[in-house]
């Protein structure tokens, strides 16, 4: 059975169905059902997946798509892809449930009513593309999904986002497009230089021998991925996009879409251009470390919670990139696990932030205070999510971050040590934010002067100008309702479970990472030793 | 091709190869002779025209100056030279001066390619009786005619008076219109002669071909005026139009435009030059008609029985005789035909001469092609039939539509007339009521106009 194609076809068909049904409510329900079906299929897929199997890409389907260019419709999953697909499949139903009213025009922060059907249809299309991008084993197909993915996300940000949504959407699209086009050049050049008349990834591994060419091509791919993943200094679009996107879209954007960048580094940069990767490793590691520290420091200074979360992500992506380019199996596996965990933890943070904003209509940290008194459940989940962001032991992120640092330290001790400071800083921003928002006395929202820049940045244009509290009880901050509990619960559960028992996931990931690293090391049998020596000197 | 092969047979006819060999002084002599002959020809022509037209109208014509009034045109010329040269202040001086020159020079030049005889001995040099010949001689004639149009336009334009401008425009429109028909009428000749060189065209008219019809050799006439009657007739008409002669002398229609483009060239030498150019033009078109259609300088039929008729200087005589005859035809037309209206003139040129001409050319070409290759005759016939049927169809459609339109118009007019007859005030026509007292019958004081 063509599992992966089915996995992609179901949401696409679901999207068509969603856009065709009559009522909005039905559309939402249908979307939820479809996403759950996808989740179920993914679970089946994961169960059938055999980590110990010799074949690298399982469930592989390869058909000629455009023979003229040697392009195939080639999909297949290894451990890395599988966990990321699973991440998407889990997040989408949660996001659908969380965005139940995002497009309705209800809620304090909501923009005016927009087409609900379109929103959910876009979500499902996006899901299909996310699955496609992780499953693609053809470089060209990967590129196609990589670019096409932008479009639904662009519309989701642009149509359903905050006050400056169109600016953010355009910025997001242009950054990604620019990176993507650079990658296109590299893809074309790869095809031409490799001269194998195919884009199938397995055949292209290390196909380019000439070191200079490799370096150029690597640069093309890497910049695209660095923009996507936002690695410092290509990150500036992320805070805008994430802050302006509706909560659900932000989750998918930061939680899954950006993973494509790091996933691409791990899968394509390393394996296609091993020599160049080694050459560029110091640079990347420097960037990653700078990103870790910079993201964390800037996050501390943020006054807007969504922006703050976005900057924490930049810091986390630094860790992931660090792990990828450390090129040890610990670090690689850690990075992969980090991708999954980060998806869940940031997802949880964004969703809970979204709930807050939905209630109060402002994303300014200063507008909140003492939430834990009025809405303890909300505050509690927020705390758990936040703690996962700072990698508290016992939560899943700790495992992955530890693995990354450990793996990195094996080869690059100094950067690893510096990166560790990011953990400390993370504690600062998370706890400080919690303190400001959740503790203390319950606070009236202080509205910005109408027309001031602050207002423009934080308050949605259509939110009520008089305090919400006058209309709603308990300072307008009711605790989580049932739907929201259903949204948050699985996330918290995953964070906790993976924190204590990451083995099943690691079992899936490890062989794939090892394969990846071994395919790099084919040329140099013992790079680790050599590098360690180098590092020791 | 055939013309050239023919040439080789008869050394008497000069061909293209015989030109360009004259020493310069011979050329100068020939040019001077042509120039002088043309000048004299104009003097003679004016007198001849007046005399002949008078005779046709039962008058005497000029009979005071010299014997038979022969010196009349000389006297006129002198008079023109001695009259005051008026120049209105509105004119564009440069153009005003250039125009007569532009008009006159090409008229003379066109004559340089007219063959007037075979090769003769002249001052110890054997030379054809023709100033020069070119592979594109007829084109030269047409080109000169076209340049002449500039003269007309410039004269009208430079004068800056309404009559002149209109006259110039009309004249140029007329000349260019008829030039097309004229150019088309030549095509038949070229089809047969296979050359554009005037001397070779004349040579080609020396012998008629023969049509083999059922084993019988029917000799074809050698002159194109008979072989290509439609072309010839069209040429004759366009010849009149091209030179602005009666019945197509609209540009100078005194009734409406005073003197046309030459209104401001009041009687002086400038006018004399213009008039000279007009007459030279007449001679040129006559000479062209002779060259292309009437066998050039060759002797006409009964005389041509005499072997010596086409040798030596004799042909010059035949040529000038033909010229006189053609010129007489001009005069005859002038004496007998009324001037047409301008729309009639243009309609004749555009709507009759051109299509008829094209159809005729195609017919000639088809027949020729069929004679050339016996194959595919059916195809040609089919094509021809289609074309003919198409043309007829179009014509029929035109005609029926026109007819219908005419009928409806007539019916309309009739209805209107009847209606008006029954009810005079219908249709907004101001009819005085019947009971209005008669103006003269009522004693009222007259109101001067303008004082309401």
């Amino acid at each position: 059975m063509p599992w992966l194609s089915t996995l992609m076809a179901v949401p696409v068909l679901g999207a068509v169905g969603v856009s065709l049904v009559k009522s909005d409510k039905l559309a939402k329900q249908l979307a939820l059902v479809v996403s759950l079906v996808v989740l179920a299929l993914t679970v089946v897929l994961a169960v059938q997946f055999d980590p110990a199997s010799g074949t690298r890409f399982q469930f592989a389907e390869v058909y000629d798509w455009i023979p003229r260019f040697g392009v195939h419709y080639g999909v297949g999953v290894d451990g890395i892809a599988l966990v990321l697909i699973a991440l998407s499949a889990v997040l989408v139903p949660i996001v659908i449930l969380a965005s139940w009213h995002d497009a309705d025009g209800s809620g304090a922060a909501a923009p005016p009513k927009r087409s609900v059907k379109t929103y959910f249809a876009l979500l499902l299309v996006l899901e299909a593309m996310m699955i496609g991008v992780f499953a693609a084993t053809d470089v060209f197909l990967f590129y196609v999904f990589f670019e096409a993915m932008l479009i639904p996300m662009y519309f989701m940000i642009g149509s359903y986002g905050g006050a400056q949504r169109s600016y953010a959407a355009v910025k997001f699209l242009l950054y990604s497009l620019f990176g993507g086009l650079l990658m296109l050049v590299a893809v074309i050049a790869l095809y031409v230089v490799a001269g194998k008349n195919t884009f199938m990834f397995p055949e292209l591994i290390a196909a380019v021998q000439d070191p200079t060419t490799q370096k150029w091509l690597f640069a093309g791919f890497f910049i695209a991925f660095a923009v996507k993943a936002p690695l410092w200094p290509f990150h500036t679009w992320l805070p805008d996009a994430a802050a302006q996107a509706p909560a659900g879209a932000a989750v998918l954007l930061v939680g899954v879409l950006d993973k494509v960048g790091t996933y691409g580094m791990l899968r394509f940069c390393l394996e296609l251009f091993p020599e160049a990767s080694k050459f560029f490793t110091p640079l990347v590691i420097v960037l990653a470390v700078v990103g870790i520290v910079y993201g964390a420091i800037v996050a501390i200074g943020q006054t807007d919670m969504k922006r703050l979360i976005a900057y924490t992500s930049i810091s986390h992506f630094g860790f992931i990139a660090l792990g990828v380019f450390a090129m040890t199996s610990n670090a690689g596996a850690g990075a992969t696990l980090y991708m999954v965990n980060h998806g869940f933890s940031t997802g949880a943070l964004f969703l809970i932030a979204g709930f807050l904003i939905y209630r109060r209509g402002s994303s300014r940290i200063a507008d909140y205070g003492g939430v834990q008194k009025v809405a303890p459940l909300l505050a509690g989940t927020f705390l758990i999510a936040g703690l996962s962001g700072l990698s508290l032991p016992g939560l899943s992120t700790f495992v992955s971050e530890f693995m990354v640092l450990l793996g990195t330290y094996q080869r690059y001790p100094v950067p690893a040590i510096i990166a560790t400071s990011g953990v400390v800083l993370a504690a600062v921003y998370v706890l400080w934010m919690y303190q400001r928002m959740m503790t203390g006395a319950p606070k009236e929202p202080a509205y910005a002067v109408p027309g001031s820049p602050e207002e423009a940045a934080h308050v949605l244009p259509d939110s009520p100008k008089e305090p919400v509290s006058s209309k709603k009880p308990a300072l307008g901050l009711p605790d989580l309702n049932l739907r929201e509990i259903f949204v948050v619960a699985p996330l918290v559960a995953v964070l906790l479970v993976l924190g204590f028992y990451p083995k099943p996931v690691l079992d899936v990931i490890n062989p794939a990472v090892d394969k990846t690293l071994s395919s790099i090391n084919l040329e140099q049998p013992k790079p680790a030793v050599a590098d360690q020596k180098g590092a020791g000197q | 091709m055939n013309a050239r092969t023919l040439l080789a047979a008869d050394p008497n006819f000069p061909g293209l190869a015989d030109f360009g060999k004259d020493p310069l002084w011979i050329s100068i002599i020939k040019a001077a002779v042509i120039f002088i002959v043309l000048m004299l020809g104009v003097l003679f022509g004016v007198w001849f025209e007046r005399k002949l037209i008078s005779r046709m109208q039962n008058r005497y014509g000029p009979n005071r100056a010299g014997k038979f009034g022969l010196l009349q045109s000389v006297a006129d010329g002198l008079k023109m030279g001695l009259k005051e040269d008026l120049m209105p202040r509105t004119v564009d001086k440069v153009i005003y001066f250039i125009a007569p020159v532009v008009l006159a020079v090409p008229a003379f030049l066109a004559f340089s390619v007219i063959p007037m005889g075979p090769k003769v001995w002249m001052f110890g040099v054997e030379t054809p009786l023709q100033l020069t010949d070119l592979p594109v001689a007829v084109l030269l004639v047409l080109a000169m005619a076209s340049i002449g149009v500039y003269g007309i336009v410039l004269a009208g334009w430079g004068s800056r008076s309404p009559y002149s401008v209109l006259g110039g425009l009309r004249a140029s429109a007329q000349v260019v219109s008829y030039e097309i028909a004229m150019g088309l009428s030549f095509v038949g000749v070229f089809l047969f002669a296979g050359t554009l060189s005037t001397s070779e065209i004349v040579a080609a008219q020396a012998q008629g071909g023969a049509l083999t019809l059922g084993g019988l050799q029917i000799p074809l006439p050698s002159w194109y005026m008979i072989l290509l009657i439609p072309s010839f007739l069209i040429y004759i008409i366009t010849m009149l139009g091209e030179t602005n002669r009666v019945p197509f002398d609209l540009p100078e229609g005194e009734g409406e435009l005073v003197g046309g483009f030459q209104t401001e060239y009041s009687n002086s030498l400038k006018f004399a030059v213009i008039m000279l150019a007009e007459y030279v033009n007449v001679f040129v078109v006559s000479a062209v008609s002779i060259t292309l259609f009437m066998g050039g300088w060759q002797a006409p039929w009964p005389i041509s029985m005499w072997d010596g008729a086409n040798t030596g200087w004799w042909p010059l005589l035949w040529f000038f005789l033909k010229m006189v005859l053609v010129f007489s035809f001009f005069v005859w037309c002038r004496a007998s035909l009324p001037r047409v209206r301008y729309d009639q003139l243009m309609a004749l040129g555009w709507k009759i001469l051109i299509p008829v001409n094209l159809a005729w050319i195609m017919l000639v070409a088809t027949v020729k092609a069929m004679r050339l290759e016996s194959v595919d005759r059916s195809l040609v016939l089919i094509v021809l039939a289609v074309v003919v049927i198409g043309c007829l169809g179009i014509w029929w459609r035109f005609d029926s539509v026109l007819q219908k339109r005419k009928e409806t118009r007539a019916a309309q007019v009739q209805a209107e007339f009847e209606q008006l007859q029954a009810e005079p005030s219908a249709g907004g026509f101001p009819v005085p009521p019947l009971d209005l007292p008669h103006y003269h019958g009522v004693a009222r004081k007259e109101v001067p106009s303008g004082s309401n």
């Binding site: 000629d64 798509w65 455009i66 023979p67 003229r68 260019f69 087409s115 379109t118 590129y143 196609v144 999904f145 990589f146 670019e147 096409a148 932008l150 479009i151 662009y154 519309f155 642009g158 149509s159 949504r165 169109s166 959407a169 355009v170 699209l173 242009l174 497009l177 620019f178 086009l181 650079l182 296109l184 050049v185 074309i188 050049a189 095809y191 031409v192 | 050239r4 293209l16 592979p135 179009i394 459609r397």
Partner: protein
Amino acid sequence: MNDAIIQPPTIEYALLSPMLLVFGAAIIGVLIEAFAPRYLRKSIHMPLTLLALVGAFLMTVLNAVNGLPDAPAAMGSVAVDGPSLFIWGVILVLALVSTLLINDEEQFVAQAAAVPGSPDEEEAILSGYAQTEVYPLLLFSVGGMLLFASANDLLIMFVGLEVMSLPLYLLCGLARRRRLLSQEASVKYFLLGAFSSAFFLYGMALIYGYAGSVDLRAISASLSAVSGQETLLLIGTAMLGIGLLFKIGAAPFQAWKPDVYQGAPTAVTALMASTVLVAAFGAVLRVFWVALGGLEWNWKPVMWGVAILTMIVGAILAITQTEIKRMLAYSSIAHAGFLLTGIVAVGAAEQNAQALSAILFYLAAYGFTTVGAFAVVTMVRDAGGEAGHLSRWAGLGKRSPVLAGIFALFLLAFAGIPLTSGFFGKYAVFSAAVAGDALPLVVVGVVSSAIAAFFYVRVIVLMFFSEPSADGPSIAAPTVGTSAVVALAAAATVVLGIFPQPVLDLADQAASALFIR
């Protein structure tokens, strides 16, 4: 004089049948203008034009099925080879589609000569005049394009160029609304077009002076044979190039494009923007590859410069535009630049075939998208006709999401987003260019694509993310023709974006034998 016997020439009527059919229909169209009563004209013209184009297309297909000749037709003056047939097919289909657009009412002036607002015009409108000459003009122009793209002889190419352009000059001036603009566009297009064709002609004269012939093959042969007159050759090449580059709107000869695209009736713009580019590229390819292939090292650097300039100028100036048609015009300039990178990618035979096939595919893909985009532009109207200003497009996505969505699709295709036809076009051309050692050009191309993407995206932003203004433009209820055009173009854009293989195969096949000489 030389008495050489003239051999009657031979003409392969069957090979030329598409062209002959189009011209024949055009001539019949003139007859209809002459003889059919006014109220019947349009209803005769429409089927005639469509039939002629369909028939010509079928003939083209038939020619392709019958196999290609190994020598140019009509005494070496028209080369009916693979590229020609492909280009013919594309032109004919695009023309057919544009005809459907042109069929729409109310686009063309009732009587071109009547002064706007004058009683004359009132009368002309009242009495139901319509400029049905549009159809024969269109056919003539299409016939000229066919000839232009397949000429194997500079003279024939020149004739094709003029036959293509002259009717277009007139068509540009026939817009019903914004008459002054339209006429101004017409006169500008005419003057500049005539100017450029004079350059083409002088270049042709110089090359004739060098090679002693205007036959492309003979010119190519003379490149190695004749020596000592390189100046003639080089200047001639340059001038020829100017004439041709003008037609494709390459910088620095692009000035006419925005003006003309904006002023012309949009249906005509659609025709121009799609087909002229196709035909002109056919000619450019022939001149530079067939005739001047041996001169590659001389023109290549210049072409590099032109391509770079064109891409950058097109992309950057488009950003400053506030008029939708002008913006599309600049985008078309940028696309001409992308295509030029394919022209530069000349090399060995195999490489040439690849580049050629890429260009052909790009032309097909771009043509359809363009027609579709302009078709959408015709539908967005306000009181004064089409709502051209970009600000009027704000919030269109709310007002009519389907139309805006389709337009967004076209824009994305222009931008070269994957899963649209534009992507594979760009991909094909760029990959050919990379293979042809023009990597820097591709990098520039990519950068300008990114710049270009900005203004495409801006329009999408306007349409979807801005609030509609209260008195915004209305969406004309689409006629069957227009909606068919939009649907077809959208379908082509999507299908070529997802399953380009059949068309790519076709282009490959067309390009495999390269140009016959």
